[in-house]
């Protein structure tokens, strides 16, 4: 039985349909990557799972229980935390306060505390009293990841953590993921960089125009297959 499952998930922004029956499954301890071009619906999928967008109750299952209609705080209480696209740090809070607020709604025992996060990202300890938005982009992304980890989640959703960051900075951030995996959490990573996605994940889903166009084990998928699922058949033929 999967830890998280979506079943025929649809999502709308008013009249506009962004997801057309998405089925994905995430097992305990697994790292999943979701790839797809701009506007494919990756963020919409993340926002649906995390409870920011309300859906049909049965469209999203956690431990086989319907959570599709739960609001975000209830989803978090079940151990599903999100690093939102664009980081969304709280500008009125210091770095340390941003981390602390991540543990507001769920006081679960686990390996992540202020101390262990400062060990994971030492630079944050130096900057702990700075306003969060005074940090560099990469450091801000570390705060956003740390903030989500403060609730000691069993599922960590990460939406485009490499967005707008230099390659070296992206490498430092992904270097933390083996230790996050080691905590036992399942991880769902939305990533536009296909190479990065294949490297970090066990399995991969490719999305296009609100649908899953390809899924499989990261080590087994061929480049051409992915390219086709990512850009669509016509673009592929042109290319």
């Amino acid at each position: 039985m999967a830890l998280i499952e979506t079943k025929g998930l649809t999502a709308f922004y008013r009249d506009f349909q962004a997801l057309f029956g998405v089925d994905i499954a995430v097992d305990a301890g697994e790292t999943i990557a979701i790839i797809g071009a701009n506007g494919a619906g990756k963020t919409t999928l993340m926002r649906s799972i995390s409870g920011v967008l309300a859906n049909e109750p049965g469209a999203i299952l956690h431990n086989n229980e319907p959570i599709g209609a739960l609001p975000a705080p209830d989803v978090l209480a079940r151990g599903i935390a999100m690093v939102p696209e664009g980081r969304k740090l709280f500008p009125s809070l210091t770095v340390e306060e941003n981390l602390l607020v991540g543990g507001y709604g769920r006081k679960a025992q686990g390996q992540w505390t202020l101390e262990s996060l400062y060990a994971l990202f030492p630079v944050l300890k130096e900057r702990r009293q700075s306003p969060a938005t005074a940090l560099s982009g990469g450091q801000q992304q570390m705060v956003a990841i740390g903030r989500a980890l403060m609730s000691n989640p069993s599922v960590l959703l990460c939406d485009e953590i490499s967005l707008g960051l230099a390659p070296a900075v992206v490498r430092t951030i992904y270097a933390a993921f083996p230790r996050i995996r080691a905590s036992g959490a399942s991880i769902v990573i939305v990533e536009q960089d296909i190479g990065q996605a294949l490297k970090v994940s066990d399995r991969i889903y490719c999305m296009m125009e609100g649908r899953i166009t390809l899924s499989g084990h990261s080590s087994e998928l061929g480049h051409e297959e992915i390219h086709k699922a990512y850009f669509g058949a016509e673009r592929h033929e042109l290319a």
């Binding site: 975000a72 705080p73 999100m82 709280f90 009125s92 809070l93 602390l100 991540g102 507001y104």
Partner: protein, 287 residues
Amino acid sequence: MNWLDTIVQGVLLGGLYALFAAGLSLVFGIMRLVNLAHGDLIVLAAFVILALVTTLGVSPFVGALMAAPLMFAAGWALQYFLLNRTLGKDILPPLLVTFGLSIVIQNGLLEGFSADSRRVSAGSLESASIALGPVNAGIMPLMTFLSAVAVIVCLNQLIYRTAVGRAFRATSDDPVTAGLMGIRPQRIFALATGLAMVVVTIAALYLGTRANFEPTSGPARLIYAFEAIIIGGLGSLWGTLAGGVILGIAQTVGAAINPEWQILTGHLAFLLVLLFKPRGLFPRAVD
């Protein structure tokens, strides 16, 4: 005229205005809600204290202590069940609803307590005073000012030193992302308005014991509260105290020159600050 005495009285009066303003400032800071019924809620709390004092025979201080949890509950429910529904991108609905609420409260009080002018008696404390150097300060004005300082210290501790305070600030920044942290903005807003009503009760204690009040006294209190907040600069409670003090001094100095000028000089001071420092004297760094 004794200048020093006039200024001290003005400073102490500023404490009362800061108390009027602190709750309004808290609510605005967290949910960008301008509560036009704030003054009427102060007057309502004064009537609640009056009713407790007259029916139970307790002192006004005990009355305020008993009124505080009632007002907290009323504020919580008001926010949770009514005002939360008005919050959104459009700033007009909360203004309209709280304006209506102001009228409802005034008429409710007229119905329940008549239009008579009332006062809550604080007994011998009313005329007691102590010498502060060369100046005689009334005990009640002094207590008002110290209460204002205490309220601001407590609110600042709460906002900047506790988990709930972090939730207040996070919600004020971004309620959707706050939800991802397990914060329920609707409840945070209700809690903030509940707390504001506790401050309102403290303000009402001093309003009711120091001066006469009637059901229609609210809007004038609202004006002083607004002026204190704007003079001080949005977002800073100490700024609000400074704003109250400036307003208080302007009024007592005006009154010392000509008793008819008290109200006018207060408003003039407000306009002058607005003219030269449109964002107030101590605005929060950047918004």
